[in-house]
C-alpha cells in the first residue's frame, strides 16, 4: 500500500471553457502531471490552476467550498456523469486513486436550462433558492415554538424525514436527468415536511407552490428514468418523487 502512494500519474483533461454566460464555450485540452492518487479530484484541478496562473493564464473556474461533501457547492460532469464515477459521493469526495496513468478525463458543467453557465464549469443554481422561497419551510416565527418534546415524532418517521432532508442542493439530479427535471430536489423537501407533524399545517399549500415554482424555472418533467437517484451523492430515493406526486394530487383534489 505504501508503494501506491509514491506513484504519480499524468492525465489529459478536456475541460469546458466558457468566458461568460453569453459567450460560446468549447472543450480545451490540458496535460496535468504529477497527480498523486491521494489527491481529491478538486485538488487535481487546483494543480492545473496553479500551473495556469503561474504562466499568466486564466484559471479554470469551478465551484467548491467545504470539500467534504456537505455544502453542495461543487458540481461537474466528469466523463458524462454528475459528480463523477463514484456512487454516493460529491466531486470533492472523488479521489484520484480512481484513475490510472494516461487516462483522459472530460470535465463539463452541469447542463440544464434551469442552470445557466456563469463561467467555465460554474453554473447558476439560484432557481433552487426560488423554489425554496415558494414553500420550502414551516412558517414558525422566532420565539413562537412550543417545548420541543411536546411535538412527538415517531422514530421511523424522523428517520425517513432525515433521509430526505440529507439533500445538499447540489443539482446533480437535474444534471443527470435527460429532461433536466428538478423533481428529486423538490420531492426531498416536500417529503421531509410531509412526514413530520410540523409540516402538516402547510402541507397542501407547500406541495402546490413548490411544484409551481419548479415549473416556472424551466425544469423538465419526470419520466421515471431514475438517473437522479443514481447520481445523488446523498442517495435520496425516487420513492420521494412518488410521495411528491401523491402530495401534489392530494392537494390538487382537496383544493377548493
Amino acid at each position: 500500500m505504501a508503494d501506491k502512494n509514491e506513484q504519480t500519474m499524468n492525465l489529459t483533461l478536456k475541460v469546458w471553457r466558457q468566458k461568460g454566460p453569453q459567450e460560446p464555450g468549447r472543450l480545451v485540452e490540458y496535460k496535468v502531471t504529477g497527480v498523486s492518487p491521494d489527491m481529491s479530484f478538486l485538488e487535481m484541478l487546483d494543480v492545473l490552476n496553479e500551473q495556469l496562473v503561474s504562466r499568466g493564464e486564466d484559471a479554470v473556474a469551478f465551484d467548491h467550498d467545504c470539500r467534504e461533501g456537505i455544502c453542495g457547492m461543487c458540481s461537474l460532469m466528469i466523463d458524462g456523469r454528475a459528480h463523477g464515477p463514484d456512487s454516493a459521493a460529491t466531486t470533492c469526495q472523488l479521489h484520484m486513486r480512481r484513475y490510472k496513468d494516461g487516462d483522459t478525463v472530460v470535465i463539463e458543467p452541469f447542463r440544464a436550462k434551469g442552470f445557466p453557465v456563469v463561467k467555465d464549469l460554474v453554473v447558476d443554481r439560484s432557481a433552487f433558492d426560488r423554489i425554496m422561497m415558494a414553500g420550502g419551510f414551516v412558517s414558525v416565527g422566532t420565539g413562537a415554538a412550543c417545548d420541543a418534546n411536546s411535538i412527538l415524532v415517531p422514530k421511523e418517521k424522523a428517520d425517513k424525514a432525515m433521509d430526505a432532508a440529507a439533500c445538499i442542493g447540489c443539482g446533480a439530479c437535474v444534471a443527470a436527468c435527460p429532461n433536466a427535471a428538478a423533481m428529486l430536489f423538490v420531492a426531498a423537501k416536500v417529503s421531509q415536511y410531509a412526514l413530520l407533524p410540523q409540516g402538516q399545517a402547510e402541507r397542501d399549500r407547500r406541495a402546490l407552490a413548490m411544484r409551481k415554482a419548479m415549473d416556472a424555472e424551466g425544469f423538465g418533467h419526470c419520466t421515471n428514468e431514475y438517473e437522479c437517484e443514481a447520481a445523488c451523492p446523498k442517495e435520496i430515493k425516487v420513492s420521494n418523487i412518488a410521495r411528491l406526486n401523491r402530495e401534489f394530487l392530494r392537494a390538487a383534489v382537496s383544493a377548493d
Binding site: 467534504e68 457547492m73 433558492d129 414558525v140 422566532t142 422514530k155
Partner: protein, 637 residues
Amino acid sequence: MKLESKVPSGPIAQKWDKHRFDMKLVNPANKRKFKVLVVGTGLAGSSAAASLAELGYQVEVFCVQDSPRRAHSIAAQGGINAAKNYPNDGDSVWRLFYDTVKGGDFRSREANVYRLAQVSNSIIDQCAAQGVPFAREYGGTLSNRSFGGAQVSRTFYARGQTGQQLLLGAYSALMRQVGAGTVKMHVRREMLDLVVVDGAARGVVVRDLTTGALERHAGDAVLLCTGGYGNVFYLSTNANASNVTAAWRAYKRGAAFANPCFTQIHPTCIPVSGDHQSKLTLMSESLRNDGRVWVPKTKGDPRPAPQIPEDERDYYLERKYPAFGNLVPRDIASRAAKQMIDDGRGVGKTGLSVYLDFADAIKRVGEDKVREKYGNLFDMYHHITDENPYHTPMRIYPAVHYAMGGLWVDYNLMTTIPGLFCLGEANFSDHGANRLGASALMQGLADGYFVIPYTIGGYLGATKLPKVTTDHDAFKEAEASSWERTKRLLAIKGRRTPQDLHRELGKVMWNDVGMARSAASLGDAIRKIPEIRAEFWKNVSVTASNEEFNQTLERAGRVADFLEFGELLAKDALAREESCGGHFRVEHQTADGEAERDDEKFTHVAAWEYKGEGKEPVRHQEPLVYENIHVATRSYA
C-alpha cells in the same frame, strides 16, 4: 479606545431579563424604517436575518456562495448543546454555564455565557418547530448524546449532519422572508469594506463576484456574521472560502480584534497525506463517545493495529483523565495526542497520527448500531483514506478548527464601532480560550435568534441616526480604496499563485504559532510573515480581469488579509505569557505537560486596536471578573 462590556448589574440569573426590560424598544411601525445589513449566512447570519425581518426591519443579506444554504455552518457534524435535562441526568442552565466557562479555561465573560446557557433551550424548541429532523427515541421524544467536557448528555443531533440540518432550518426561515419580500438577498457578494459615517457603521462596499462590479449599500446597522479565521493556517477544517476579510476590514475601520491567539486545534481530524492537500476533514467529536483513542506502548511499534495485543496498547486519555476518559475537551485531547507523537509513539506511515478505535463498540452493540450513529462519518473517512474504519481503527491527528477569538463585542454583541454588530464565530464572546464541542451551533443560533433581535432594538431605539445615502463621501472613499487594492493586485503580474503564498504562510503559522508556541517561535513568525507579505505584493500572479468571475482575484484578496492578520495573531500569542485552553506556551506548563495559566496577570480579554499602516497595534485589556464561578485549575482527571 474604551472597552465597555455593558454587562447589566444584578444577580447573574436576572441580568438578561432585566436588560431586556431596560432596553429601548422600537415600535412595530418604526421598525420598517430601519435597514439592517447582514453579512454572512451561516447559523448566525441566517437566523439573525430571518428573525429581524419577522420583526419588521428591512433586511439586506450578503453571502459569498451561490446560495445562503452553503455557508460553512453546514459542515458542523456532532450536535448542539442545550440545558433541557431531558435525560434527567443532572443538567441545568447553571451546569451548562459552569461547564462552558470551565471548558473555556476561565477566559470568557460570565454574563455572556450565562445568557447563552439560558437561551439554549429556546433554540432547540425553535429548531424542532421548524422541522429540523433531530434524532428521536421510539416514543417520539428527542435523543441526546454526550460530548467532550461534560458529564451529562445534553447534545441534540441529526445523525452526523447537525450543522447541515440546523442551517437548513435557518435558511428555510430566511427563504420564507425573501419570498415575502422582507429580505433582499445578494448572493456571490464579498464584503470589501465597512463604511463608517460620523463614527457609526452605516454601510458596506461589496464586490459582485460574478461581474466584478463594486456596490455600495447603506443601512442603519451592520451585522458581521462572517465566521472564523482558521484558514490563516492554510490547512484547517474550514471551507475553502472561509476568510478573515470582512472582520479584518472592520478592524482597520476601528473595530477591536479580541484574543486572536485563541484558536482551537481539534483532536480528531483525518491526517495530512501530502503537500497537495487543500483542506483537512474533521471526524466529529461525537465519535469519542464510542471510539477509544490509543497508541502502542512501545515507540516505533511497526505492527498493524490488530496485531498489537490489548496489554501493549496505551489508552492514554482513559489513563490520564479517568473521570472524563475519551471525552476530555478538545484542547486537552489535542495536546495529549501531540505528546504521544512527540514521544515517538505515533502511528501510520508518517507517524503523525493516533488510533481512534471502534472495535469495542462494534463488539458491544454491533456494526449496524455503529453505522446508524456514525455512518456518514465512517463513509467520509473511507472515501478520503481508502481504509474501512469498521475493520481497522481510524487514524486521526489534530487540525485547526475553530476561532474562539474574533471581533470584540459588548454584552449587546456590538463592536467598538457603534452600529457594527458581530455574531457567531466571528466574535470572541463566549468560548474563552477553548470551545466545548456542540457549543458553536448553540452560540451561532443564540446570537441570531435570541440576542440580536433584542439588542439591535436597544441600539436603534436609543440612537439618533442622520439619513445617509450611498453618495456620502465615506462611501466614495471606501469604494475607491477597494478598487485601488484590486487594481494593485491585478497589476503585479508576478510568478507565484495566491494559493502558493497562502501555503507558505500556513506553514509558518502551523510550525511557529500552532500547537506549541514559544517566545522564540513566535518571534520567528513575526519576522517571517512580513517577508512573505512583501513577496506577495511583489510577486503574486493574479490573472484575468476584475470585470468577470475571477476566483484567483478573490483568493488573492483573502490571502493578502491573512498575511496581515497572521502577524497580529502571533503578536497576541507572544503577549499572552501563559498557557490556557488552545493557547499553549511551552514556557508555561506543569510538570506533566498541562497548561499553566497565570490568573494574576492574564484574567482579561486582549483587544487590539488598529493604529494605521505600518504602525504597531495597541493591546487593550478588558478585565474578566468572576462573581459566580470559582476560578480553579481545570481538571478532568
